[in-house]
Symmetry: C2
Subunit: 193 residues, 2 copies
Amino acid sequence: MGYPREQSIQQATEVFWLKGYLGTGMRDLQTAMDKRPGSIYSAFGSKEGLYLEVLNHYTDVLHEQIMAVANSDNTLQQLREFLRSPLTVDDSAAHKIQCLIVKTQADWAELPEGVKNALQTALANLREAFKAVIIKAQSVGELPRELPEERVAMWLQGQFIALRTLATSVALPASLTWMADKIVSDLTGDWAQ
Amino acid sequence: MGYPREQSIQQATEVFWLKGYLGTGMRDLQTAMDKRPGSIYSAFGSKEGLYLEVLNHYTDVLHEQIMAVANSDNTLQQLREFLRSPLTVDDSAAHKIQCLIVKTQADWAELPEGVKNALQTALANLREAFKAVIIKAQSVGELPRELPEERVAMWLQGQFIALRTLATSVALPASLTWMADKIVSDLTGDWAQ
DNA sequence: GTTAAATTTGAGCGATCGTTCAAATCATAT
DNA sequence: ATATGATTTGAACGATCGCTCAAATTTAAC
């Protein structure tokens, strides 16, 4: 029972990531998961319940990726790789570039209360992970000690969002790689190229 | 006939901005515009047609704001003001912070082809306006001549998107003002504060 | 004041939405 | 083999979706 559930969540993730929360219909999910409505509802309760599990899984994966940066040596180098990595996917996975949280947040006014809360929590969790990156970079001497960590973490999260959003509409990977590098430069504080 | 049409577009803008393209129903628009369906359809053809006029109007206003920065003296100072300005609206207008184009783009996979094209065009137009700001700043000596203008314009558009997106979920205006200032600092190249 | 054209009205169309639930099927234990 | 519980099925519900169009109303011209 455990494994098929994980698989269902991943299939549902594909759909929500492609179509958004409002744009995804239960029938889309039924097709992607190859399950009938009663089955989905007994397992997840509602469209909202299914989305919440999808969001949790998505956030966990992203959180781990960022914490891997924070736990590495050469933090800034790993951060640069992290920022660059999603910009090279093939066209068929183009919808996976945009941050799922930001994408869902666009439907804010129409979302169930539970989804709104989960989005806020997810954003805060990821901001904490970015903060861990900052602090680690400070501890290894790659960043100055006297930074306002909270604000820099928010700024870094904003840069991540900007990169992922631009990547959905800007066709040139070289420009995005350039921007990823500039972000790291702006983090350290000198304008390099 | 001309003026009421303008008024209708503004009322429709409110709804689309609050609820997004998919989240907005014709009945929401009928209520906001105080018109019955046949009237709206004879004037705008379809929900898509109405949205396209809304998007055009929104883009025009934003384009003018950015060009006002480009046409001012003290370009970077005006840019800072422009980046700061939307972060101080009251809560009832909170939905007007997020960029309408980015918000609509989140529903990408489910949008009519005409809306997709219009979004791409709008983003490109605004990027041109940001580029005009860069070039003006160069011409008055506030930025170095040898910048890659296209990429910096894309970067600046990304910063704008990041600020507006963060502002919808971060409660502290001071942090966002700090970030707006950092954006201008990163544009000139030195890490101030 | 009458007429013709332009505009608005609002009931209602077919399609799709999220969801339910009785019945069928599958799994497990004895 | 058979009984029992867990799971899945799929038809169908009420609500809402974008949209249509004949009828009513408003506007403009003479």
